[in-house]
Amino acid sequence: MKKKLILGTIVIVCLTGDVLADNNSIVDNNRTVKGTTLGKYQKPGAPIDITYQSTKVKLNEPSDINISFTTPLKSGEMEVDINIDKNLKTIGEFYNKITYSLNPNQKEYNLNLRVVSSKNGLYYIRLLTKVNGKNGVKTRAFAVPIYIGNGKLQKKSHQLVLKALSGENLSISKAEESVEIIK
């Protein structure tokens, strides 16, 4: 959904300065990454939680990922769309969509994957979960972090970061411009 330029912005003459270095964390190899949304704040959405575990690995070393979904829903279906970062390669059988039949006797719905990469970085396996509630479809998105090599967050190509003379860090993008001469 697109929005128009908003009111209330501040327009000033810009001052330029130095380029900043990235502040990325260094990651140790062969360590386990664990995460869960259980008990944590979530914005409104599908009543689904995730618990995950992945191994931090070297270049070209497989990383095992174990994912578990929990939901209080006891019937119907839970769809999961799986999107693997383009810098990761899956090992073994892989489906980009899985559907679970929810039932009252099952507490967890599991998903296991293996991925590998030849590039250093912090990448993600992105999951979009979907269930049918009393008031229609509800969704919730998750991302499982995969640390490869140094596990550093990669810089995006569109970003230019400078420091103003005031010391403030500025992330600068170009505006689209048009000029009218007022007679």
Binding site: T37, R126, N135
Partner: protein, 426 residues
């Protein structure tokens, strides 16, 4: 002639009465403030109008260039919220707010400082300390254009700075029977997003090409579960109190000012945990002639007339120790864990003499629970501390308590289906 460049900062700034101070920064890049800039140009002799457009970066099949408009879209939503509050109180001064947005903000992580710097923000949220975090992950979950989400989270900033929320947070979804503090906090956020925009359709865009997601109609959707513990019920009630559209049991159009007044006065200072009980008690106190119409709205959500801040007419969540130094309560895990209805039970007690007290909570129907408790002074309301060791069956804490009224919030970390506890304060 001088060469200049125009820089537009993603900030909202106004000093003095009615003022605000909001900036949008990249939390994954040293908190750099987002700006867009023009090309370098010569001022020249002619008068010119220079139009700057913040582009979305959308290339038709994905984002192919910088998402320049995102921070400004976020500010637009926040400005809507600010204007609505100022419509009720033109003298309000908004404390500083920092909005953290990045294309690398993903729905992952546990909330540590290092993770936030890398964009693992878990979800769009208010952190309780003057910071909003907003998702920006392309083809997964982007929230910069989902104005209801931004305004919902800003609503938690509003509670923090102007009112009070005792919500314990946690996950919440359709059909959940929630802790009453969570139900009110989340119901308020949803209703507030509809009130600020005068648009009851809350939506969240997600998925491939941002073309998936869901929506909910704050006005007309049936509550998945009804009651004082239901986020759905709370949002319907609050929106019905506000809006000018009479439908069903709703024959009230209070507008925002009475709701605002209740939140910043009664709700802020109430001696019970914030909930629909405290809010409606305060609203009724200030609007006694509206009681029947308020009750009709409550009744449509299966909530009986509210007689006090503890929900005495319809819930057993609070126990009053009275003159005794002992009491017994039971928690339940039947509605789920962590932040669901009856996971927490509350004890009201009065301290006569100021001194050191030992508070003990001991399970009397087994030994597999891990009881924890929090202690709160009620006037002025203050969280004094938590006793939450990893000990089966019992929890003991020492507190220096002055004379006055207090609350204990007792829960079982192990989430036993039914755990009962003897409480002793001496």
């Amino acid at each position: 002639m001088q060469n200049v460049r125009i820089c537009v900062y993603a900030k909202l700034e106004k000093s003095g009465i009615g003022g605000y101070d909001v900036e949008v920064v990249d939390n994954t890049n040293n908190d750099a403030v987002y700006t867009m800039q023009s090309s370098l140009f010569n001022i020249g002799e002619d008068s010119t109008r220079r139009n700057l457009n913040a582009s979305s970066g959308w290339g038709g099949y994905g984002y192919s260039s910088a998402r320049v408009s995102a921070p400004f879209a976020i500010l637009d939503s926040i400005y809507q919220a600010i204007k609505k509050v100022k419509s009720a109180d033109s003298n309000v001064i908004f404390p500083k707010l920092k909005v953290n947005w990045s294309v690398r903000n993903v729905p992952s992580g546990g909330g540590s400082e290092g993770e936030l710097r890398d964009g693992l923000i878990l979800t769009s949220h208010y952190n309780g300390d003057g910071n909003l975090y907003i998702l920006g992950d392309e083809n997964s979950d982007t929230d910069e254009f989902d104005n209801h989400i931004i305004i919902h989270e800003w609503g938690h900033y509003f509670e923090d700075k102007f009112s009070r929320s005792d919500s314990i947070g946690g996950s919440h979804g359709e059909g959940d029977k929630l802790d009453i503090r969570v139900a009110f906090g989340e119901g308020w956020g949803n209703a507030w997003s509809a009130i600020a925009t005068d648009d009851p359709i809350y939506f969240d865009t997600q998925g491939f090409m941002q073309s998936d997601g869901f929506y909910m109609n704050i006005e007309s959707e049936n509550s998945a579960v009804k009651g004082f513990f239901s986020e759905d019920s709370i949002q319907h009630i609050l929106y019905d109190l506000y809006d000018s559209h009479n439908d069903g049991a709703d024959r009230l159009s209070l507008g925002f000012k009475p709701i605002y007044n209740t939140l910043v006065r009664f709700q802020k200072n109430t001696k019970a945990f914030t909930s629909i009980f405290t809010f409606i008690t305060g609203l009724q106190e200030e609007n006694p002639s509206k009681q029947d119409k308020i009750n009709a709205i409550l009744n449509s959500e299966d909530i009986k007339p509210i007689v006090d801040i503890y929900g005495s007419s319809q819930s057993n969540l609070y126990s009053n120790m009275g003159d005794s130094s002992t009491s017994t309560i039971c928690t339940s895990g039947e509605n789920g864990r962590f932040n669901k209805l009856e996971n927490h039970k509350y004890i009201r007690f009065y301290i006569d003499a100021s001194k050191n007290y030992i508070i003990s909570v001991v399970q009397n129907n087994g030994s597999m629970s891990d009881p924890d408790f929090g202690v709160y002074r009620t006037s002025p309301f203050l969280h004094l501390g938590d006793s939450d060791s990893t000990t089966y069956k019992r929890e003991i804490g020492r507190y220096i308590l002055d004379s006055g009224d207090y609350l204990l919030d007792i829960s079982d970390y192990n989430g036993q289906n039914y755990a009962c506890f003897d409480i002793n304060i001496n």
